[in-house]
């Protein structure tokens, strides 16, 4: 079973993502900000196969967190999922693997996840 880490500061969204991806048959870990993501990753038993991360989060934001992830765990694909549509073009610069603008329709996000898990 593939493990996905969802990082978003909105609890309602955390729950939505978690339930939706669990319905899709993934194991879902949740973090409220960048710091939580990093500390979760430090436990090798929790190491996810893919990370879906918001950019605007309290504490460490998504971009800084992304840099650390890509430094330490370059093999884990990261999909940025943000309300900012204007950053979409910058994802490759930031070395994220994909960028999905948040939408109530999760189809795009789910396909991106599927794609990067090479399923």
């Amino acid at each position: 079973m593939k493990r996905i880490l969802i990082a978003d500061d909105e609890e309602a969204l955390q729950r939505l993502y978690k339930e939706e991806f669990e319905d899709e048959g993934y194991e879902v870990l949740v973090a409220g900000n960048g710091n939580e993501v990093i500390s979760l990753l430090e436990d090798p038993s929790h190491l996810p196969d893919l990370i879906v991360m918001d950019i605007r989060m309290p504490g460490m934001n998504g971009i800084d967190t992304l840099r650390i992830i890509k430094e330490k765990y370059p093999r884990i694909p990261v999909i940025l999922c943000s309300a900012y549509s204007e950053f979409k073009q910058d994802f490759s610069v930031w070395a994220s693997d994909d960028y999905v603008v948040k939408s109530s329709d999760l189809t795009e996000l789910k396909e991106a996840v599927k794609k990067h898990l090479k399923e």
Binding site: L13, A83, E86, D90, L106
Partner: protein, 820 residues
Amino acid sequence: MDRGLELLKKVIQVANSSIGFDDRLQGILDLLIRKEGVERAILFSMTPDHETLELKKISPRNVLWDGSPFLAAKTPIGDTIHNHIPLLIPRLNRKEHKALVKHSLLKGFNSLIVLPVEDDNLVYGGLCLLSKQSLKPDPGQWELLDLVARELAGIIRNSRVYTESKKRIAELSVLYQVGKVIGSTLELDDLIERVVAITAQVINATGSALMILEKDSETVVVERKFGSVPPSVKENIFRDLLDQKGNQIVNRGTTSPSRNRDALTLKDKNHQGSGETHQISSFMCIALNFKGPYRGRLCVYEKISLGNGTTVYFSEEDLSVLSTIGNIIASSLENALTFQKIETLARKNEWMVRNLSTLYQIDSAMMTSSTLKDLPQIILEAITLKEGLGFSRAILLLADEDKKILTPMAWSIQRESDQDPSLKKRDHLTGNELSGYFVRQAAQIRNIRQEADQVVHDIKVPLTKESGILARTFLEGRAFLVDRVMEDPRINKELAKRLNLDSFASVPIYAKDKVVGVIEVDNFINKRPITEEDLYLLSMLAHQAGLALENARLYAFIEKTNNELKVARERLIESEKMVAIGEMASGLAHEIRNPLVSIGGFVRRLNKKFSGDDQVQSYFQVIINEVERLEKTLNEIMDFSQDPRGNYREWDLNRIVEEALGLIQRELDEGQIKVQKQWGKIPKVFGDNRQLGHVFYNLFLNSCQAMPQGGLLTVRTYSDKGAERSWVTCEIKDTGGGIPPEVLHNIFNPFFTTKVHGSGLGLPIVHKIVTRHNGEVDIDNRPGEGISFLIKFPSAKEARQQLQRITTIREENHETDINR
């Protein structure tokens, strides 16, 4: 009757007779002969210096002597006269009288009686009586002789008084005649005519001449001849004579004491080549003395005797009369000269006042209409209207500095029907009415294009010295007046023929010390000659015109700039509004999007959970659709306001530039602009193709507007690796004259433009877009030639690296904003 008394009676009869004075003296001497043994009687007159005795009369008249009429005063005869005591020398053959008898008049006589001829006041001379016998007068005879001598003295005195009176009367008569003449007129010309005539008439000369020069300039102010003045007496003699001081008589072949060597030389010199018929035997010349800055000469030629009409010599008396005339006329002539000068000045002043008022009126007309379009026409109408300067035609040519030619901007041709009958005569118009008149005329005439326009409208005068007077007027910045066009080698023959010119004038138009154009005027219809005064007036008008043109140009420029400023400001406000709305929308979007995703997401989950209940599902579906609609609206707002980097891709700059050229093709064709393209092998650039295209479109448009007369646009792309970074560059080079250096720093300022058309936002937008793409704009400005814009972008690879740095900073800043 006593013999002595008899003699005395006869002497008194002779003395009181009506015969001439000389005849009376001779008669008395004749009476003395053969009386009391006297065989020769001689009357000597004493010269004024009392040095010499001069033979005045002798009896008998047929005496032959060796010719010497003089006798030294230092003789017994002279002594007798000086001493007022009669002398008797009974024996002349005595030794002491040897010197005396040597004189041929006294030779051969034995005895001599000398009597002083004198009255109570003056000694006139001496009377000598000679005899071969011995003379021995008794006291009675001495008394008789003394009485005779006194009678002689009386005759001589009377003769002198008579001569003097005659002279006085003659002089008075001359004065009267001359005075009458010069008093009769103040008109210089008239006066001179009369002066030369009366001078000749009074002196009884066949000709007279008068010349007056101005002292400093040596210009001849007056020159007049009367009667027969030999043509050989040319100006040069006259001038030579002018240079000589004093008065002179030149009588041919005489030994008059007043004859002067130089004058004689002159006469000889000038008479040699002059031919027999014009030989003058004599002339007389005096200097005229003026108080003012003049010098002059009055001359008379060839005196004619009153009696038989033969030529006679001028006498000292004539000279004195001439001097008298000279003195009288000098002051009158001077007055007349001054009067004439004042009159000329007054006329000139009047002329100036009239023209200045015309100029003033034209000027106010020019100032009334400050639109650039009307102004040249108003100027030209003012030149051609009869009420203005009244030329047949005027053409205003302005210089095209780029093409180095003069082309007509406006022209005007005088029309007989120009007069608007509804208008009052110009003289009765007030200043304002007249201004209106000029303006109305200009407006009326603007609508009437004449056939002659065809001749003028496509004139092109290359700005080289060789292409004729108009070009030279411009190049040398001075006025020209050409009288005989076809004979003048400086003329552009083809143009002269085309305009049907015999004579014309051209003046430069100055604006701020720089010649900007030329006004040509001519009278090809009425053929009136153009005067220096016309030229002067025209120059003044051209000067005014230059100022007015410059004013109008500045006014138009300010007005245009002002308008563009208004537009620019409106746009700026508009775009600022958009930015504000965008920012607001963006902030709002983020705040709304998350809850929307939650609502929408969970409703979708609910929808799945209640898959059996159609009614509930239909409710959920409504919510899902409404949330989607909201999200869609949100996205639209975001797209509208967001930073367009959303569309950034890698692009081939050559293609973008090529496409921009395609958009401007119509303008390029219409403007007759040649395009030269050089596509280099360049790396891709990173950016928004629409914006990049806009950069080049703007630059091309700019070049087109800089080259309204056509030109060459060079577009070149290349990549160059600098020390720190490598650029992808597109160079856009035009031949539009460049940008004045003083405004160069302003070209990216959105409030600034020098263009006639356009918003002035073109270049600022270019700059903004290029900067947004991390590029640079370099300018190679060559004033008078053209300008090159170097648009430099980082390669796509470098752009991404830069973008990363920038976004990070931005994100951090954004974070700070959110956390605040």
